[in-house]
């Protein structure tokens, strides 16, 4: 009797039957729901604790490990690449310096050779000039001597032609005098 009274107050029983009460408050279904709820929760708990959660946790940990390793490897490769680049730059700079050095050396050698050749050529030219000058001087001297002789002979011939008695001594002296005046 008391039980029925409680059900009526809670709006169960007939109130549910005509659609206005709350089936949630029908105490007669509570044991059933609670029993099956406990079964469901225990089932889910064992499935999760024994199988699902360890498995997913392991997968996530493995993935994390893989990612960490990959990042470390990538970092290492990056360092290697940086080293390689540095080495390359160094080699390039060395090569440039070497090339510079060789070019400089060649230029100096060539300059030296050039200077040497130039000097040699200058000396030869100077020698030849000197030789030529002596020859020219010789030629001029001999020419002068010839001219003097010719002049003396011509003067003797002229004096003879003019009817005078050519005094070769006097003629020679006169010609010498004149020629000295000329060359002066």
């Amino acid at each position: 009797m008391e039980h029925e009274e409680v059900e009526s107050v809670l709006g169960t029983g007939d109130a549910v039957a005509d659609g206005t009460g709350m089936p949630q408050l029908d105490l007669s279904t509570f044991p059933n729901q609670i029993f099956w709820l406990i079964i469901a929760l225990v089932a889910i708990y064992f499935v999760l604790a024994r199988v699902a959660l360890p498995r997913i946790g392991a997968v996530l940990a493995e993935r994390q490990g893989t990612i960490t390793n990959d990042i470390a490897a990538a970092e290492e490769l990056k360092l290697k690449a940086a080293d390689a680049e540095k080495a390359y730059d160094k080699a390039l700079a060395d090569a440039r310096a070497e090339a510079q050095r060789i070019a400089e050396k060649n230029r100096a050698e060539m300059q030296a050779t050039l200077d040497e050749k130039q000097e040699e050529a200058d000396r030869e030219i100077a020698e030849q000039v000197a030789e030529s000058e002596t020859r020219i001087a010789e030629i001029r001297d001999s020419a002068m001597a010839n001219v003097e002789e010719v002049a003396k002979e011509t003067a003797e011939a002229l004096v003879a032609a003019l009817g005078g008695q050519a005094d070769s001594e006097a003629v020679n002296a006169a010609v010498d005098e004149r020629m000295e005046e000329r060359s002066r």
């Binding site: 029983g13 007939d14 549910v16 949630q24 408050l25 029908d26 709820l37």
Partner: protein, 267 residues
């Protein structure tokens, strides 16, 4: 009341199952019918071990949990499939919540929290299938869930801290005179926890489903203009999908908060 008693004597179970000829005027809407617990395979009374519609939908929630978390992860792929991603997302979602709220020492209780979350979210979402049954709309179910948390957390608190757990109620920052008053308030609020914890979930789910049913009844009564309630049902359904998830989240979040109180009771 005398009539009521007579009808009730005829047996409540049959009473719920049909509205044997009792027609109401105009609208014939029975929004609460969907919550009636009845045997699934046969008529008759609901005993403790009877397989009822509640049983079936709880079992489906268990099945879906297994499908989501066990079957999809069978491959253990480092690069996950789509289904495995969903399982991992669910795992990560709850794991992060437990870790963020309770701290590192709360991780031990992650399987319990995950169990609650999976059951509630699956039951809530499955209940949105038309003609299905919503176990979480029943106070009997949510009260058990909330009391499990309440007793579990209280026992854990005393086991971990002994009488120090009572420090939870003794607000040491407050002035000495106020502390007894605050302790009383804290104590009351502590015991109200399972009530609000359970009624929040059941109330939300029940209200949403009842509203859907009411609008469905309008649609039946309006004839050509039924499209208006149908549109409303569509909108409310979308909201209910959100509510189904959010209520599971809220329930589990509060569980974590209570767990944190038990692990670190000092104010």
């Amino acid at each position: 009341m005398a009539q009521d008693g007579a009808e009730m004597a005829a047996g409540t179970a049959e009473g719920y199952a049909s509205h044997d000829g009792v027609e109401h005027s105009g609208f014939n809407i029975h929004p609460m019918d969907q919550f009636v617990v009845q045997p699934f395979f046969s008529d008759g009374p609901v005993g403790m071990f009877t397989v009822t519609n509640a049983t079936v939908w709880m079992a489906l929630a268990v099945l879906c949990t297994v499908l989501l978390l066990v079957v999809t992860t069978r491959g253990r792929n480092v690069v996950p499939t789509r289904a495995q991603s969903m399982a991992e997302l669910s795992y990560g979602f709850v794991y992060k919540m437990v870790h963020d709220v309770t701290g590192r020492d709360g991780i031990k209780y992650f399987p319990y929290v995950m169990t609650l979350f999976m059951f509630i979210v699956m039951a809530n979402l499955l209940a949105l299938i038309p003609t299905s049954f919503a176990p979480t709309s029943h106070i009997a179910v949510t009260a058990v869930l909330a009391l499990l948390v309440f007793f579990g957390v209280t026992i854990l608190g005393f086991v971990k801290h002994g009488m120090g757990f009572l420090g939870l109620f003794w607000v040491s920052e407050a002035p000495l005179i106020l502390r007894p008053v605050l302790a009383l308030i804290e104590l009351i609020s502590y015991f109200v926890r399972p009530v609000s914890h359970s009624i929040r979930l059941a109330g939300n789910i029940m209200a949403g489903h009842a509203v859907l049913k009411v609008f469905a009844g309008f649609a039946g009564a309006l004839g050509l203009f039924a499209f208006v309630p149908v549109l409303a049902i569509t909108a409310i359904y979308a909201l209910e999908v959100l509510v189904a998830f959010i209520q599971a989240y809220v329930f589990v979040m509060l569980t974590c908060v209570y767990l944190k109180d038990a692990l670190h009771p000092s104010h």
